[in-house]
Homo-oligomer: 428 residues x 2
Amino acid sequence: MQNYSNPPIDQWESILKRPTVTFDDIESTVIEVFNAVNLTGDQALKNFTLQYDGVTINNLAVSSAEFNEAEALIDEGLKKAIDVAYDNIYKFHLAQQTSKVVVQTTKGVECWQEKRPIQKIGLYIPGGSAPLFSTILMLAIPAQIAGCQEIVLCTPPNKEAKVHPAVLYAAKRCGVQQLFKVGGIQAIAAMTYGTESISKVYKIFGPGNQFVTLAKQYATKLGVAIDMPAGPSELLIVGDHTAHPAFVASDLLSQAEHGPDSQVILVSTDKALLDAVESELKLQIKELPRKEIAKKAIANSKMIYFDSKEIAAQCIDQYGPEHYIICSEDEAFYIDHIHNAGSVFIGNYTPESAGDYASGTNHTLPTNGYTKQYSGVNLDSFLKQMTFQKITKEGIKNIGPAIQLMAHEEGLQAHKNAVSLRLKSIDK
Amino acid sequence: MQNYSNPPIDQWESILKRPTVTFDDIESTVIEVFNAVNLTGDQALKNFTLQYDGVTINNLAVSSAEFNEAEALIDEGLKKAIDVAYDNIYKFHLAQQTSKVVVQTTKGVECWQEKRPIQKIGLYIPGGSAPLFSTILMLAIPAQIAGCQEIVLCTPPNKEAKVHPAVLYAAKRCGVQQLFKVGGIQAIAAMTYGTESISKVYKIFGPGNQFVTLAKQYATKLGVAIDMPAGPSELLIVGDHTAHPAFVASDLLSQAEHGPDSQVILVSTDKALLDAVESELKLQIKELPRKEIAKKAIANSKMIYFDSKEIAAQCIDQYGPEHYIICSEDEAFYIDHIHNAGSVFIGNYTPESAGDYASGTNHTLPTNGYTKQYSGVNLDSFLKQMTFQKITKEGIKNIGPAIQLMAHEEGLQAHKNAVSLRLKSIDK
């Protein structure tokens, strides 16, 4: 890891610079795939699946026989593990429900706010070597709690034209019935336009590679919403002498194994911790199946020593990490001083992987500094807030004159007139 | 207005088609302005203000002398009107505060969710003939309640290099101190990149013309969030024999005066209402200063008769209006059957202009069908949700085995190892 000691504030930005991703060279591919899917629907999806995934797909939809087969293939231990995760995620997201907000703002003027579900949503789950069935739990559970009517899930098929059984099992466990064997740009295009098999949705959720990321961005131009802008995953740990070096190293590595562009940062007010973690990293990395990936990420990662916890906290908040682990005797201080983070893990026994799978919090989080303005996925991501107002004759008499004056000042006479007519009819 | 009677469902989409806006021809202008502002900051802002607004600006920031001068220019009646609106908007948005969500998902696993303010936000307020000071209330009041640290407001200067006093008064009333005389694309660019005078912000709010709309879209590519995608304003009224034709006509006109591309729709289960409203429109439109604009909008607007309220409600929900007025003896039915609307106005004494100014609800609402997936601006628009978790030794013993199994199945051994190390250390 690269080492820094008390870097001055004007260097923080360059030290903590995130990898920049440029998409310009694939934009034309995205547009081409979208146009084809818009034009020929399912046929285009099958063509692109053959072209990009090298697989011939006859039926895009996963059949109920395939769902059942998958269930039989999953061992009971994994089913129980998924149950544990399911229950915790369910509890935490259910608790996020809020009640209707009702306020009589002025006598005779009742206003209220209600949340209603987004009716049609799409989930994208990447395929490849690691079947991210945990992401299905993170997206489909809050969607179910929100009451979304229609949930469509797209995921690329493997070389045998199948979907990993854990993905099918998790989807079924979450009540997702519409699962389609299609990935990449074409999956996002299908959920944006709709095809013969796949419904057009209003909002698309889920992670993906740069093609999927750009396709989601493109979909927003066509009237679809997306969960959030995506970027490489990142972890920042702050530790002092109470942090456990082996645990810290294991957390850094669990971030590093995601990809060579993962961002891994350790901030400490204790120099000895930095040295101990460095040694632990060397030991632990050897054992990892994905050690080549992890080594690349670790080589780009940073260790930063600060004398002062105040300055450390300021630097961390400026970075705004997606995942933030606090292992410090001053944990309350660091909790109070973080305004920009996705999910925060507190104490030596709270690894990031707990939040990735089973503590109950969501693992779909803002990266790339987007913690400054975006929430991670939560129950509200699947709901919209609508407002209502009902005004009585007395109410319009109370606020009508203010509306008339303001509308007049803004030069909107018809707005004023809508009130004047009502006030006149009441005074008659 | 154009008339339809019981149109079949397959015609609804074309009848209710919104105007399509294409931006391709101005994208190069947007990019050019952004690049110049990025390169030369304030100087570029002054150059573009001279070029586009025809005004020479020496100091971009509004001075405290100018704020005071404005306050003296506003008459007491308007100040009181703004106070009425301020109080109602404040009450309604304050009531939207929620408390921390804390759940022990498993013994030893405590998860919580907290909302923290977006620290830096930017507000854009259009200039021109109608100074939209009401929009300042709608954006700055919830920003203050949320606790946003820094609020920057940009608005174009008039020909005398001044800002309309009502805009300055409303801004000061809401505690906005940083107000800059810059409009259009260059204002959005300034808040995106930051300049010598204007702070870079994390999220930009506010309405604007097609240049501002496209500039906001472009800003999202550069890491800034925006309130929502924009489109022409729209109103749908559903009425029956209990609706008051003159009131309905006045509401349709208050929408129509916004612009020739405003969408105005009247749905009714009572044919007599449609005829009566048509006559009222002809009478009322004559008196409007903006009648030429209103006439164009009304010529494109629709009246739709349905025999059945069930089918009427289905058609309305498919359209998903920004503003939705219900004047019907079956108001509860229509409230229950709307899933997609921005703000709903119920009863004969609840004109849309009440929500535009002073009932307390927000007037920054999704248009163009975006009610299907976006909320209107509300308190949460200025906050982010963050999650926290703290796990004890007992907690990680409870959920650790599930994490290990799931991480293993996803092929992420370092994720598993972060748990295994901790479990081993506990068992020692």
